[in-house]
Symmetry: C2
Subunit: 365 residues, 2 copies
């Protein structure tokens, strides 16, 4: 890519991004599920707005501070996918609820349901909740067996509306083979769908069952009872997803690599390697290596160059790039690397056509 921009920089191909959004939306519509994509990946309200324009029913957010930024940007249909448990956060949540009455939040224990109900009663508000089910990650959520009890507790509270279930199996998204991923995710989501049936049979409302990520969207969408999906990484993609197998036993290539990072060689005093201007503060370290796509035969090594610089080596026979040369790479894991930057340089062909702020960057609260 020949772009006249300074580095390190994140570059976003607008057409590829649109194609990715369109591909996911069309697939979901064909399968009869809605898309409420997750903003934790791209942290950019501009992209969220594109997703809504393409048919998404709302936006999922990991943190209250992300939801605040989305509401401020005029978005609706927001689902907060982690429990909100402290006085500070509940005060922020209720303040948000006044501006965004269709806000959804997940709950994973009885005490939290009581706490939210008490706060809502005092504020004279009603909050819509999903029961968060733990698919075995043991991160957040209740067990399948406890879900119905918690759902009833929520339903019985005067100031909470029960709207259904969430089950997000983050640990299954990167299982390498499609067959193993399909088996694990089908098991988790089928059990969740079965909880939904029990809720409906016992007269509890359950219009929503949300879950899934980019690695299992085409597995979970086929499961009867799933009403919506919350993928994120499909928008931009990364090397971690490039390394898994797709449903056709080929590499997982349903979505384009819409995002790349540009880095520049700043020192080249050795035969063995050169030094680039992107270290751990520009490329979030990960077990997966970044992949240099502009120069075949070059590799980015994490080893030892620290926070500010990166090491690039060449396979035998491949010349090392010179000082000032710009390399383009696919980042290992898109979410935490995007969270290190303030903007996307949006390109069409070799032209920068726009700059989009990564306006939710750093929203970890």
């Amino acid at each position: 890519m020949k772009l006249s921009i300074d580095t390190p920089a994140l570059v976003l191909d607008r057409q590829k991004l649109r194609d990715n959004i369109q591909t996911m939306q069309a697939y979901a519509e064909q399968m009869g599920v809605a898309v409420r994509p997750h903003i934790k990946t791209h942290k950019c309200t501009h992209i969220a707005r594109l997703q809504r324009e393409h048919g998404a029913i709302g936006i999922s957010a990991a943190k209250v501070s992300e939801a605040e930024a989305l509401v401020k940007a005029g978005m609706d249909g927001i689902l907060i996918t982690s429990p909100v448990v402290t006085e500070h956060k509940i005060a922020r949540l209720l303040s948000l609820l006044q501006r965004a009455p269709d806000l959804l939040v997940v709950v994973d224990c009885v005490a939290n349901a009581c706490q939210l109900n008490d706060a809502c009663r005092q504020a004279n508000l009603t909050l819509t909740c999903l029961v968060d089910i733990d698919p075995g990650v043991h991160r957040t959520g209740v067990s399948y067996a406890e879900a119905q009890g918690l759902a009833r507790t929520i339903h019985n509270h005067t100031h909470l509306n029960l709207a259904g279930l969430q089950c997000y199996a983050g640990n299954l998204q990167h299982i390498a083979t499609f067959e193993a991923r399909q088996e694990a995710s089908t098991k988790a989501m089928t059990q969740t769908a079965s909880v939904r049936r029990q809720l409906l049979e016992s007269g509890l409302p359950c219009p929503i069952l949300t879950g899934t990520g980019t690695g299992t969207f085409d597995i979970d969408s086929a499961i009867d009872g799933i009403t919506e999906i919350q993928p994120g990484s499909y928008t931009v993609m990364d090397q971690e997803y490039a390394n898994i197998e797709g449903c056709d036993q080929q590499p997982f290539n349903r979505f384009h690599h819409a995002m790349t990072q540009l880095v520049t060689v700043i020192s080249a005093n050795h035969d063995t390697h050169v030094t680039v201007d992107a270290g751990l503060k520009a490329l979030y370290i990960d077990p997966t290596q970044p992949r240099i796509i502009s120069h075949p035969g070059l590799s980015y090594d994490w080893g030892g160059f620290g926070d500010e610089h990166g090491k690039v080596t060449a396979t035998p026979g491949v010349p090392l790039p010179g000082v000032g040369e710009v390399l383009e790479l696919i980042v290992p894991h898109c979410d935490p690397t995007i969270n290190l930057f303030d903007r996307f340089y949006v390109v069409e062909g070799n032209q920068v056509v726009d700059i989009w702020p990564i306006d939710l960057r750093g929203c970890s609260q």
Copy 2:
């Protein structure tokens, strides 16, 4: 710590910070070296200003964008500690030079010296340069043997001023035992001091020899010929530095842990662990574990909880904290974690007395 602030959050103890700045400054003055502390650690012009008020002669910066922010904040005496090699960056550098004529930059190859000289000639400016010496990291810098040649090249250029040498051995800062660290750093810095003597003997100017970090400040300051030091982490400290040995064969405790992170338990449905609201996006992952200081017997585990959440376990017999409980921890490596946040909550005792923007956060260009 009982603070009524939302989490995850970085907390900075103002008195401990001041003590750290004072300790480093007093030590350097006693040893006859100047301090030009590195802003790459704390990314905060407010702290840089405190360092200047305590006697620092300027501020070191890893990136041009950091230097820009410092100049914008009214700081002078800025040293850019990495080579500046592209047209984009050199244009930014020269624009900065017009506003900050005492700006210093390092150079590690002849071609870059020519490039800088040409750009300065066209802009009718003079740039002051240090030769960057590679102490064996092979990241940036020339070998000891090549330093004098590059120094002469710089000196002979019409629009460059030679001001001396930099040698920063980032790889030696965390050597566990003091003896091994002392041996390695003394070797690297003695060789650099010897290059300085050669320069002076051959009639080249060399008023500056800068180097050192928090792990070797008390080793390198004692070496004849070192004129200034550029430590950063001593301001706030972290667990990586807590794990090395100090000069007295005790743990390295010359500086206080002025910075901690507060995190909150958001889910506690298991006997084995709880889940907190700080994952990889709030605590930069590192081989060193964070250390929970508020609750003895609890550990933060990186394993498997991903970008948004962290896992906290307890040693046998220690009760797990409940939902909503706030934990205080020392971060593993201060630099990249600070770079994830927008502000420090500045405390005295248990009171938040100020909020300081981490205004250079994300300055990776």
